[in-house]
């Protein structure tokens, strides 16, 4: 059974996320995906959809920095795109400070 009452991991590292052409960025912990980190910071640079890699609303391009990513629907992230840093914000976890560019949702 999933119980979410796990100890708050104070040690999880956090990174600064800079958004191209936006005055304000946000902070993302290593254990929290980029989209949810943005929502928790009450910001709205990126469209929010299913938050699970299935709908393609939160397409972004990472211009600088390191991250880990989970599997994303190939209907929305095409072969070759991850190599250009094109990802879904709900499926990546920052491993350094990042610079991101929101992209139009694709269908």
């Amino acid at each position: 059974m999933i119980n979410n009452n796990k100890e708050c991991d104070q040690a999880a590292r956090a990174h600064q996320i800079r958004v191209v052409n936006a005055s304000k960025g946000f902070v993302s912990r290593e254990d929290t995906n980029l989209l949810v980190s943005m929502e928790r910071a009450n910001q709205s640079h990126v469209l929010v959809g299913c938050r699970g890699g299935g709908c393609g609303k939160c397409r972004i391009q990472v211009l600088e920095g390191d991250y880990q990513s989970k599997k994303m629907s190939r209907a929305h992230i095409h072969p070759g795109e991850p190599e250009q840093g094109i990802v879904l914000a709900c499926r990546i976890f920052a491993r350094s400070d990042l610079t991101i560019q929101p992209l139009a949702a694709e269908h």
Binding site: I2, G49, C50, G52, G53, G54, C55, M72, S73, R74
Partner: protein, 309 residues
Amino acid sequence: MKYGVMRPGHVQIRVLDLDEAVRHYCDLMGMIEMDRDDQGRVYLKAWTEVDKYSVVLKESDEAGMDFMAFKVVSEDVLDTLRHKLVDYGVAVTDLPADELKDCGRRVRFTAPTGHQFELFASKLQTGKWGINKVNPEAWPRGLQGMAVTRFDHCLLYGPDVPGTTRLFQEVLGFDLGERVITPDDSQTLIGSFLTVGMKAHDVAFIEHAEPGKFHHASFFLETWEDVLRAADLISMTDTPIDIGPTRHGLTNGRTIYFFDPSGNRSEVFANGNYHYPDHEPVTWTADQLGKAIFYHDRVLNERFLTVLS
């Protein structure tokens, strides 16, 4: 059940990560894992269902729905409906027994909305989970999470809802329980809620340019209190939420929407309208779509209309 189609039988859902999906449908929603096959598919049931399974999870590179199936009353009816589909000009594919575990032969066709549907007559019946067939107790102990009682319906988005509705009515004997029409003189059908029994809907369609899109699979709960408890569980597990708890105008159900870990939308709901064959369709006009879908907010959120898998 005019032409022998009885009820929704199963839905095969594509997921990006099988283990995460099983945790969503079993640990959170309270379905029970019944089997796995050599394609890696996982078979689940809700506890009140008598057939062995109603949800099949398949790992894939893409989220969405592979197919939804309806159970018909007999193998003879299956043959009759197969012929009716062919006569209506619909291409059918025959799938052999046991392509899905413990399921008889299936007849598959594609609706104008681009979704694949199946008809079948036979599936292993394991009975309601956790209670005896004779002198049954009220409910089984040991259910997880929301303890959903049954797979209820799917809502699907695609083109040509009028044509798809005619196919389901004329060939398969569904009734139009509820509908959304444009407010102009054409009264074009843009939302169609179809039933084979007394439920408000067994399958529903919303007009959408892109074919074959999956809006949600829905599961039944008994009470509004159960829906609130589901909402608590969604928060406790930090599960992505769409909207709710709220009430629908269409179908009058009390509902909450959330997402599985691959971005497929799930609904749990309680109560709602009933339907008899002599009922006129409950009608909403598209200019009142906000209230039709979210009765309390009376405003549609963009996500509900455009986030699909």
